[in-house]
């Protein structure tokens, strides 16, 4: 555990002292302006979680590239050149990205909870946050794929993330016959919209569980493929 902690602490230290957080701060400020509108409502509601989930996607899309491309040259060799360096470097980066973004979202969620105090809000907060964390992990895992294989894939990955966020995959189901087999392609998209819906409604019906399962499987695959690619990657600096 000591080595894992050291990797996360080192990268946090590096992120902070090299002022890589500036883009995130800009995003937080812009989001804060929109968020102010929700705070001025007369009553709170679960609808704010749509906003938090979308913000999670945007935030992750900013934090992940800035943290993945953070170390170069001697710094990178310093981290990779230790026992299990590649695995610890890659995994600790993902953990740090998710923790930073989740921390920001938690801060907003707490502000909202304090504005409209309710016991049920805080009771359900961990469940909703867990779903948002899954969104963060899935987006980070996808972006990590580009870092592990080809950074030039970044645009395609962002297109994939955007489609995952806007397409209502449940809407194309059920499938009637082989002729509509192409509709199965929706299962290749990250179910970001469905996770957003789940974090808002907390309606865990059959389809909800399917999307949650799909998100977990996809996230596992993205992280696994990313780690595999990073293991095989030549570190040329």
């Amino acid at each position: 555990m000591q080595a894992w902690r050291a990797y996360i602490a080192f990268q946090w230290h590096h992120y902070f002292r090299t002022h890589r957080y500036l883009r995130e701060i800009a995003a937080v400020v812009i989001f804060g302006i929109f968020f102010g509108g929700f705070l001025s409502d007369a009553h709170g509601g679960a609808g704010v979680w749509i906003l938090f989930s979308v913000f999670a996607i945007i935030l992750s899309s900013m934090t992940a590239p800035s943290l993945f491309l953070l170390e170069r040259g001697t710094t990178l060799y310093f981290l990779i050149g230790k026992p299990h360096g590649r695995r610890r470097y890659f995994v600790s980066k993902i953990v740090l990205i998710v923790l930073i973004d989740l921390g920001i979202l938690l801060a907003f969620a707490l502000v909202y909870g304090l504005r409209f105090p309710s016991f049920s809000y805080f009771l359900l907060l961990p469940v909703r946050l867990a779903l948002v964390a899954l969104i963060l992990l899935q987006v980070t895992g996808l972006i990590a794929l580009t870092m592990a294989y080809r950074p030039t894939w970044t645009w395609w990955i962002f297109v994939w993330i955007v489609f995952g966020g806007i397409i209502n995959k449940g809407g194309v189901l059920p499938i009637h016959g082989i002729g509509e087999g192409y509709k199965l392609l929706v299962f290749l998209l990250p179910p970001l919209q469905e996770l957003t819906f789940l974090s808002t409604s907390l309606q865990f019906d059959l389809l909800g569980w399917i999307w949650l399962g799909l998100a977990l499987v996809q996230t596992g695959l993205f992280l696994g493929w990313g780690l595999r690619g990073f293991y095989r990657k030549d570190i040329v600096q």
């Binding site: 000591q2 080595a3 902690r5 050291a6 990797y7 602490a9 080192f10 230290h13 590096h14 002292r17 090299t18 170390e71 170069r72 040259g73 001697t74 710094t75 990178l76 060799y77 310093f78 981290l79 990779i80 050149g81 230790k82 026992p83 299990h84 360096g85 590649r86 695995r87 610890r88 095989r232 030549d234 570190i235 040329v236």
Partner: protein
């Protein structure tokens, strides 16, 4: 030690080839070499000969296209790095840390016992003369100071093997002298030093490996007894005294009718005895040179 009780080489490369994408020639081609305990190896070669690539392959930063690399018999380099310390070519980066912070992280990343951490950090920083600067940001350090900190960091886990990539590049004279003196104290059991500067290898290493265009051209024992020589330029009459000379003459070079040059391996005392003999027989002494055959051997193998 393997199952049969024999010692593995500390580092072994077998038939290793590495190509960089877009490059027509492989960076290293079918390299096989072994480095054992107690060997201080100098990887010699011009820029682009593959020296840095060999070190990066050993560290596992690059994957070989062909061949196999083991460290103390272990082909899993991710694990085997526990016994290796590496100092990269350019000592830049890590500017936002202090030496103490850097060594602290480095120590933790090796998963070493926390109770010995402070003592080990102090020991390493003192060894490289950076203890007084432990809480200053690396950002303000000279290249030489950065190099010292990186070496301390590479040695924090007391590795058996130390890999240094052009460690004297860009250092001022004082920093170079410090580093050479530090390396002469042999801070690890085995070292691979990649440099194009033969005098550094001569000073520090006991084995030399000549790399040229990605191929190993020669592996030479760097024994001062066989590499260092004196050349004395005097009258050709000295040939009549050959049996009286206290040393074995390796080569004779006639220069003209009045002068001849001869070469021998030996100590400074041997040279004194030769000079006394010349003086005794009233032979003129035109010139005395001290030299090392490493440069000659290097050029010979590179031109082959």
């Amino acid at each position: 030690m393997n199952a049969s009780g024999t010692q593995h080489p500390f580092i072994e490369l077998t038939g290793v080839t590495k190509r960089y994408p877009g490059e027509p020639q492989p960076a290293v081609k079918q390299i096989s070499l072994q480095v054992s305990d107690g060997e201080w190896v100098g990887l010699m070669g011009a820029n682009g000969s593959g020296k840095s690539t060999v070190l990066k392959l050993i560290m596992g930063f690059l994957h070989p296209d062909e061949g196999r690399i083991t460290i103390q018999g272990n082909a899993n380099l991710e694990v085997a790095r526990q016994v290796v310390g590496y100092v990269p070519e350019t000592p830049v980066g890590l500017d936002h840390l202090t030496p103490r912070e850097l060594l602290h992280y480095s120590y933790q990343m090796y998963n070493l016992p926390p109770q010995e951490r402070q003592q080990r950090i102090e020991q390493q920083l003192k060894a490289v003369g950076m203890w007084e600067h432990q809480d200053e940001l690396i950002d303000g350090f000279s290249r030489g100071m950065r190099q010292r900190v990186l070496i301390a960091s590479a040695l924090i886990h007391q590795p058996d093997i130390l890999l240094l990539d052009e460690p004297l590049q860009g250092l001022d004279a004082e920093a170079q002298l410090f580093l050479l003196e530090f390396l002469r104290q042999r801070p690890a059991r085995c070292l691979i030093l990649a440099t194009h500067r033969l005098e550094v290898i001569r000073e520090v290493c006991n084995v030399g490996i000549i790399l040229h265009r990605g191929e190993v051209k020669a592996r030479l024992p760097l024994d001062p007894q066989t590499l260092e020589y004196y050349e004395v330029e005097t009258s050709p009459s000295v040939k009549a005294l050959q049996s009286q000379l206290p040393v074995t003459i390796q080569e004779w070079h006639p220069i003209d009718a009045q002068r001849v040059r001869f070469r021998f391996h030996g100590s400074a005392e041997d040279l004194q005895r030769v000079l006394q003999l010349l003086k005794h027989h009233k032979l003129p002494l035109h010139h005395v040179t001290f030299g090392n055959r490493l440069e000659e051997l290097y050029l010979k193998y590179v031109k082959e």
